[in-house]
Each structure stands twice: as structure tokens, then as C-alpha cells.
């Protein structure tokens, strides 16, 4: 059952999976005030949350709301994707990978981090502890400005998720999730573009994280190993984890109506739907349509009420 409609941040940080030309155009038009208007319009349209990577532009946007419209921050749930991998690629290009590792180790001992956690993770070299401290170093600025109760999930960026799968490290997911739950009292999840491989690895490890974020669209773009394989796996994994659908428009080659038609087939397996736009009016109309289809249903309203009463 769809519970959340999330605004994505691609248009805010110069990412387009359609092509870079479009990303650059969007980046130019997406100045701070326009981004803020997109967020407001999405909320008016029916968005319930914001999912974003730990890119400095998002911190700037959220800080802007924190300073000028704190009430608005309380109207959204947050799903934070860490780390922002592109910044590491750049650092590695400039100074090389060894220098990058050393600089990250220095960050572990920065003033705002728990020194004892950093020391323990380095001395024990346990992946869950190391990864936890590593992710924490990027999350701290967001935890300082966002309402804690609205931060619902921390998701591991796809680059790390895929490497966890590739190097057979899925046994570390459960302790990592526990670490994030204990440390921040939030849910934990994985983002992937290799859903079939992830599904196999999770089944093997026997642990399914609270959230899994993955592309779902009509044309099978970024759905590997194949669209059919992913569709089948989602129906199974959706019983154990909360699936967050991203790239539902296949970067723009699928219409919203087509996407809605497809997503309705998964309704029982999908927890959240994400879409992004650089234009306020588009954000408003897209979320209005999505909320009318997925959220404004009698049974959903009853469930929402029960949830509000219980939690």
C-alpha cells in the first residue's frame, strides 16, 4: 500500500538520467528560490516527504527553510541518501584514492563525531561500525536542522549497496541497520539499480532492511538484471521491506499517466513513490495526480488515521 509520495532531488543537484544536457539546463533554472517553490508546490499537490542525497545544495535548501519557514520542515518526512558519491570521485581524481582515505579518516575524528565510536570502528575494523561512522559524518549537518521525528529513513547510496552485493558483504547490513537504528532512531535502507542481485543476496543473508529504493518504470530503464526479473522480485521483497519507487518516468520518456497505470499493478508491494521536477507547476500537478490515485482512498484514509493515533 502506498503511504508516501516523495519529492526527489535530481533536478536540484544537476542530475538527469535522461541526459546531461537536460541536467545542465535544469541546474541553471534551479536557483534556491525556485527550488523552495518546487518544494512548496509539491507539498500543496500532495507530496508527503522529500528524499535527497547529502549534496551541499540540499543542505543549503533545507537550511533556507530552517531559517525562514521552520513550519514547512515539519510538514515533510525525510529519506536521506548517503554518501554523495560524486564528491568522493572528484576528491579521488584530484589527490588519488590513498589521500582520499586518509582525509576521510581525519573526518572520523572531527569535533562533531563521537571519538569513541570512531576509535572502536577503526580498531575493530567491523564493516557495520566503519560504515556507520562514515555515514554519520555526512548526516550530522542534516540532523542539526531537520525535525528528528520527521527523519524516517537513511538509505545507503547505490554505489555502496552494489559493492556490498558484489563483495558478498550483505551479512553486514543487519548490524549496520541496528547501528543506525540505535544511533539515530531512524529506519535504514538500501538504494539499488541491481534489484534482482540484491533480492538474491538478501534472501541468502536472511535479512531484509526496512527500506529498499529502486527504479521502477514501464521501459525497464535502470531495472536489472531485467524488467521482468525486477517486477517479480519486487512482489516478493515488497512483503518484507518497504519499497520506494524511483525513476518512475524513466527520466522523462514515460508519461505520468502511463507510470500511474503501471504502479497501480504494484500497489500492494510499494510503500513510496518518488518523482522530481524543476518546475513548481509541474511538481504540483504531478503530486496532485499521484495523491488522488494512491493516497486519497477511503481505506488509505482509515489506515492513515489509525497510524496517526497509534504513532
Amino acid at each position: 500500500m502506498v503511504r508516501e509520495l516523495l519529492l526527489g532531488d535530481n533536478a536540484f543537484i544537476g542530475v538527469s538520467h535522461l541526459c546531461q544536457e537536460k541536467a545542465k539546463e535544469e541546474d541553471k533554472e534551479c536557483q534556491l528560490e525556485n527550488k523552495a517553490n518546487v518544494v512548496r508546490a509539491a507539498l500543496e499537490g500532495g507530496a508527503t516527504g522529500f528524499t535527497f542525497s547529502s549534496h551541499k545544495s540540499n543542505l543549503e535548501l533545507l537550511t533556507y527553510f530552517h531559517d525562514s519557514d521552520k513550519a514547512l520542515l515539519g510538514r515533510m518526512n525525510y529519506y536521506i541518501l548517503v554518501p554523495y558519491s560524486q564528491s568522493y570521485v572528484r576528491k579521488s581524481n584530484v589527490d588519488g584514492t590513498p589521500a582520499l582515505i586518509k582525509s576521510k579518516l581525519r573526518d572520523f575524528f572531527s569535533a562533531k563525531m563521537s571519538i569513541s565510536d570512531a576509535l572502536v570502528s577503526l580498531l575493530t575494523l567491523k564493516l557495520d561500525r566503519l560504515a556507520g561512522v562514515f555515514l554519520e559524518s555526512e548526516l550530522i549537518p542534516y540532523f542539526e536542522i531537520l525535525p528528528r521525528k520527521n527523519i524516517k529513513g537513511i538509505l545507503l547510496h547505490e554505489v555502496l549497496t552494489e559493492l556490498f552485493i558484489a563483495f558478498d558483504l550483505m551479512d553486514s547490513i543487519k548490524p549496520l541497520e541496528r547501528h543506525m537504528n540505535t544511533r539515530f532512531n531512524v529506519g535504514f535502507g538500501l538504494e539499488t539499480r541491481n534489484f534482482s542481485s540484491l533480492s538474491n543476496s538478501l534472501t541468502k543473508s536472511g535479512h531484509f532492511p526496512e527500506y529498499i529504493m529502486t527504479p521502477i518504470n514501464r521501459v525497464g530503464y535502470q531495472m536489472t538484471e531485467s524488467k521482468d526479473g525486477v517486477e517479480n522480485a519486487i512482489k516478493e521483497v515488497g512483503k518484507k521491506s518497504k519499497i520506494i519507487a524511483i525513476n518512475i518516468l524513466a527520466s522523462g520518456i514515460v508519461s505520468l499517466d502511463q507510470a500511474i497505470e503501471d504502479l497501480e499493478r504494484y500497489e500492494d508491494s510499494i510503500y513510496a513513490i518518488t518523482t522530481a521536477s524543476s518546475k513548481p507547476n509541474r511538481a504540483f500537478s504531478n503530486f496532485q495526480k499521484l495523491s488522488q490515485t494512491f493516497l486519497i482512498k477511503p481505506e488509505n484514509n482509515i489506515n492513515t488515521l489509525i497510524n496517526q493515533v497509534l504513532y
Binding site: G14, L18, Q20, I101, L163, A166, D168, L169, Q222, K227
Partner: protein, 349 residues
């Protein structure tokens, strides 16, 4: 558009993944992690060993990753792991010595990241050492991006007519602060990034000569910006610009615009646009425009980094199984390295 013609690697891929691979990675930086990740996702457990000089990295990684052995010494890895295939993903300055050592060893298949060497003299030496029984592929992954493959087909089938002129660039924002890490190689953006575009242009259009060449230093002591003009074998001018210090390019972008007698083609890693001119009844539409999601639908079977990296790896594994020569073998990229040398020579660098 049918992708079959430009997507040979995916056909029957599971059949050649049945073979057991004993792969080692030399250099566990971002490219080493990327290739080993893709290889293990394609064929779980295929990367058996990693060699990296970094003490901290090998110690830490060996404690965390149990399915792969970590070494600091190449010879020790060769002796203990006896790999059939080795990926060389170290900094460019070390490629020549490492590949030379691997060519002397029992390793049959070698993949070396671009640039294969720092100049054509080193490359010729590797080709001489290689002999006929070994396979060496160079990581020019742009040739595996479907829009570029599609563009090559359109050009070779004469769809845009005779090539009149070409304008192109490859830009990134990789170097935006002062660094001296390229001093030891003595070459900069042209060798590191521009070489992709030189290789693509030569592959698509067959470059004949270098007309002019200039460079600028910005953040390093080598070339941070390079612009040059080349000529195709059929006499068309090809203008090229390359820099790694362009803040507006969050990720690297390769752009090629080709004006032909029957139309104009624009292509990047993720986009192809063709505008046909005049009355060509064989073309139903005056315009063809395709984006990344048009090309990569349920394919390739692994998605880590850009899809061309997976296709490149699949191509290499496929050539190993079929005993064919890779598209970007040392021999097939020799002209690219000659052109790079000539561009540096003409720029008096």
C-alpha cells in the same frame, strides 16, 4: 530503433558467463572497485585477488572482504593466485611496467585502463612483447556507449552523407584546485580525458592528420585545457576541445557534432540527435532523437557506474571465451596513441 545491431555483448551473455574466471585486479582505487564490482555482479566470485600498494587499504579491505585475497606485491599474487585474467587499474604512469610484467607471466588476458601507456613508444614496446597468444584490451569504454555506437553506424551507412566538418569537446570538473600529482607523467588532460575523444573520433571518422594544437595550464603544471584541429582521411576539419577544469560539468561529458551533406548528427554518452536536410524520401522523419532510456531498456544486466562499463567488461569476457581480438586491443588503439603524441608534439609540450 533496434538495439540488436549495437548490443552484441548482451546476446547469449549467460552462456559465456558459465565459464570460470580467475580474475585479479591490480590497483584498488575507484576504477579497480568499479571493475571488480561489475565483474562480481556479472559472475559472482570471479574476482579472486586484489593487489594494491596501499598498506592501509589492503589491511583494512582484507579484514572486511573475505571473498577476495588482498596483496601488496604483484609477483606474490601471481605466484599464489595464478590468475588467467588481470585488470590493471593503477595510475597511468605505472601501466607500462605492470603490463610488461604481466606479459612475461602466465596471465593470458589483460585489461588495462586508459591510457594504456603514457606515449606511443611505450605502447609499441608492449605490442612487441605481447606475442600472439595473449589478449590485451584497453579501457576505452566510450566505444561501448550505445549512442556512440549508433552514431558510428549512421555515419558508416552514409545516412548523413559526406562529412563536412566536426566540432567536439570532452569536459569534466575533476580538477578545480591546485594539484601536482601529474608532474611525474608530464602530461595532463589530453592524455587522461581527451584521449577518449581522440579515440572515438578516429574510430568513427578515421583521422588522418593533426593541423593545429594548443594547451593551457590552469591548476596543474601540465595541460588543463587543450584545443586542436585534425583532418579526416576524406579532408573534413575536426575541431576538439578538452578540459578537466570546467566547473559546470558535474560529470564528464563528451559531445560530438558532425555536419554532413545530408544532415547533422549530435551525440553524447546519453543522447543522439540527427536532423536530416533536403528531400530524402527514404527518411520518414526529418529528425531522430534518442536518449539513454531509449537505449538501455532491461539492459545491460548489471548497472554500476555508467552502462558502458558493464558492456565493456562483457565484451572483454566474451572475447576471452570466443578467442577473438577485443575491439580496443593494444593494436587497435595504436593510432589513438600516435595522434596523442602528435598533438603534444605540435603543441610543443
Amino acid at each position: 530503433m533496434s538495439t540488436e545491431k549495437i548490443l552484441q555483448e548482451v546476446e547469449n551473455w549467460k552462456s559465456y558467463m558459465n565459464q570460470d574466471f580467475n580474475i585479479s585486479i591490480v590497483g584498488f582505487g575507484k576504477m579497480g572497485a568499479l571493475h571488480s564490482g561489475i565483474l562480481n555482479l556479472l559472475k559472482p566470485g570471479s574476482v579472486k585477488a586484489v593487489v594494491d600498494k596501499g598498506r592501509l587499504l589492503t589491511f583494512g579491505a582484507s579484514r572486511i572482504i573475505k571473498c577476495t585475497k588482498f596483496y601488496r606485491d604483484l609477483d606474490e599474487m601471481l605466484r599464489k593466485n595464478n590468475p588467467d585474467t588481470v585488470y590493471v587499474t593503477t595510475p597511468a604512469g605505472s601501466h607500462y611496467n605492470i603490463v610488461s610484467r604481466l606479459l612475461e607471466s602466465q596471465v593470458e588476458n589483460i585489461f588495462v585502463e586508459k591510457p594504456p601507456t603514457i606515449d606511443s613508444r611505450q605502447l609499441s614496446s608492449l605490442i612487441n612483447k605481447k606475442g600472439s597468444s595473449k589478449r590485451v584490451m584497453v579501457g576505452f569504454q566510450k566505444r561501448f556507449a550505445l549512442p556512440f555506437r549508433h552514431a558510428k553506424n549512421i555515419i558508416s551507412e552514409g545516412e548523413i552523407g559526406e562529412i563536412e566538418n566536426v566540432s567536439s569537446y570532452i569536459k569534466s570538473s575533476d580538477i578545480l584546485t591546485r594539484t601536482d600529482r601529474f608532474d611525474n607523467i608530464g602530461r595532463g588532460v589530453l592524455l587522461d580525458l581527451g584521449i577518449h575523444l581522440v579515440d572515438l573520433l578516429n574510430w568513427m571518422l578515421k583521422i588522418d592528420t593533426v593541423k593545429s594544437s594548443n594547451f593551457k595550464k590552469i591548476f596543474t603544471n601540465v595541460d588543463d585545457y587543450f584545443e586542436f584541429t585534425m583532418k579526416t582521411a576524406k579532408g573534413a576539419d575536426v575541431f576538439v576541445e578538452t578540459t578537466w577544469s570546467s566547473p559546470e560539468h558535474r560529470v564528464p561529458l563528451t559531445y560530438i557534432m558532425i555536419r554532413g551533406s545530408k544532415g547533422t548528427l549530435e551525440v553524447t554518452e546519453d543522447h543522439l540527435r540527427v536532423e536530416y536536410i533536403g528531400n530524402y524520401p527514404e527518411k520518414r522523419n526529418k529528425r531522430l532523437e534518442l536518449y539513454k532510456p531509449n537505449y538501455y531498456q532491461s539492459t545491460p544486466p548489471v548497472n554500476l557506474g555508467d552502462p558502458e562499463y558493464t558492456l565493456e567488461n562483457m565484451h572483454f569476457l566474451q572475447t576471452i571465451c570466443s578467442s577473438e581480438e577485443p575491439l580496443t586491443s593494444l593494436e587497435n588503439v595504436r593510432e589513438t596513441m600516435y595522434l596523442v603524441d602528435e598533438l603534444y608534439r605540435k603543441a610543443q609540450m
